[in-house]
């Protein structure tokens, strides 16, 4: 029985990993053909780092992810604090509104934002993509800050104000430290979400400003170049290492 279970898990993991492994192996193939092995080589990795398109879109992806995470964390944390202090009616209204971007299919969010930008004659590009990313990131920040606020003692903020703190001071020195874990989770969530987004970026950017996802999509139409395999391999390894590190750290904290 136990062996059977392991075999089952092994099969599922094989299903998930064989395609990725094949990509990684192909990235070391000296030739361009997918069917023939022409020797081990790092040539595609060299080409990857010299490909201005890929490097540019990597830069765009990372900078958008950082900026979107930063802005949506500020916006979302403030909003969460505000919503938490609201009376019941406006609070539930806000939470419902906040749910809309999360439940809406990506394609509809993308299209509706595209319509907005075209309607208001805002030229699509870097800024519109950033605005779109902040829009879909913020609800998740709120979602991760809210539980921490609920755990907080309700009266500390008022106490701080009574003791003469300005609202800004109380916010920064009383509330913020308490909800910091939620803020950090939210920021990380926002960062990864915008790192990975394709659909919404696809509709809200111009062909000139491509993030990795939209670039990959347009290249996939022309046939996958081995440089893409090299990129996948690198991203996979970085991700795996990061996750293992994070996991190890949390394990150590637990014990």
């Amino acid at each position: 029985m136990k062996a059977l279970k392991r075999i089952y898990l092994g099969l599922i993991l094989a299903f998930l990993y064989i395609p990725i492994l094949v990509l990684i192996i192909q990235s070391f193939n000296a030739g361009e053909s997918r069917a023939k092995w022409e020797g081990f080589s790092f040539v595609w990795y060299g080409k990857l780092f010299n490909d201005p398109n890929i490097m540019h879109s990597l830069w765009i992806t990372l900078s958008i992810a950082v900026l979107a995470a930063l802005f949506s964390t500020i916006l979302g944390t403030l909003a969460a604090i505000g919503i938490h202090a609201m009376r019941k009616r406006p609070q539930s209204l806000m939470l419902t509104l906040n749910n809309i971007p999360m439940t809406m299919p990506d394609i509809v969010t993308g299209i509706s934002l595209m319509l907005l930008f075209i309607f208001t004659r805002v030229e699509r590009g870097y800024v519109t993509m950033l605005l779109a990313h902040i829009t879909f990131d913020t609800p998740y920040v709120i979602l991760s800050v809210m539980p921490k606020l609920k755990q907080m003692n309700k009266n500390t903020y008022e106490a701080a104000l009574d003791l003469g703190a300005t609202p800004m001071y109380a916010l920064l020195h009383v509330i913020l430290p308490e909800v910091m874990p939620g803020v950090i989770t939210g920021a990380m969530l926002a960062f990864t979400l915008s790192l990975d987004d394709f659909t919404i970026s696809y509709f809200t950017t111009s062909p000139l400003v491509q993030n990795l996802s939209t670039l990959i999509y347009s290249q996939a139409r022309k046939g996958i170049k081995p440089t893409m395999n090299a990129l996948s391999a690198l991203m996979f390894v970085v991700l795996l290492v990061l996750l293992l590190l994070v996991n190890k750290r949390t394990d150590e904290e637990k014990s």
Binding site: I60, S63, V66, E123, S206, P207, R221, K222
Partner: protein, 345 residues
Amino acid sequence: MKKMVSLALMMALCLALIPAHAAQEVVNVYNWYDYMDEEVFEIFEQETGIHVNKMYFTTNEDMMLQVEVSPGAYDLVFPSDYCVERMISKNMLAEINFDNVPNFVHIQDSLKNPDYDPENKYSVPFMWGTVGILYNTKLVDEPVESWGILWDEKYADSIFMMDSMRDTLGVALKYLGYSMNSRDLIELKAATDKLIAQKPIVKAYYVDETKDKMVAGEAALALIYSGDALYAMEKNEDLDYAVPMEGSNVWIDPMVIPATAKNKENAEKLIDFLCRPEIAQKNCEYIWYSSPNADAIELMGEDYTENKTINPDPDVIQRCEFFHDIPDDKLTLYNNFWGQVKNAK
């Protein structure tokens, strides 16, 4: 205070993350995939200091929509003939100042003042070519003479069609003996039925992918543009190209400047540069389409003039026709029928 400083530093860092927009002269080029020797742009950049921003589209229909909804984003566009006709009628194009394009003299006289731009105010021809069938001689024994071969069950799951409305509908129309510009409901319906009947034996509907997949030998037959065909034939000698006897589409892709272009003069400089015979030659030898540039053809010599794919015989051209713009109401029909083909199960 320390916190404020670190906050300020963070902000500064973030601002640094925003890609710098250098105050450099640019020209935004919107072109088909693989339709230009990129080195040509590099030479242009070195010569003039104008930076070329490259953007790509897959079909004429995608391109026209983007030019319409993103005013100012593009300075130089490469539409096909019938789209130029449409863009002129919709006032989407700027008149080219031909004083800035002295190299226009190199263009063949027969291609000046074309039907789609009768007074030659808006466009300069870039390349021309035909639509035909690319086939793998190892998989196809018989001669390829008719579009009918694309409907032959023998080649089931070994045919690539084009994911492009006018081209694919046009071929079906031509196969049935109608005009590629048909506006007749019954003819269009017949072509649609033909394509729906063909769908089960089609392997895939591609545009940009076709040539590489044909080189890899993934299908026996493909509907393709002549230049893509030549590119593939260079890489795989089993491949051959034919324009069926029913006739096909012959097209010209001119360069145009959208009315909303922000860098019109730079675009004109680039047009002029691309009309320079040596540059036109370099381009032509890279993308393998037919050049409208008489002096470039002279430079390329016999290799070029003897090639029947680049220079089809006059009787082949005779059988072919140009696409023309379809008025809006009939275009709705086209869109509708194309949707029926694409969504047929």
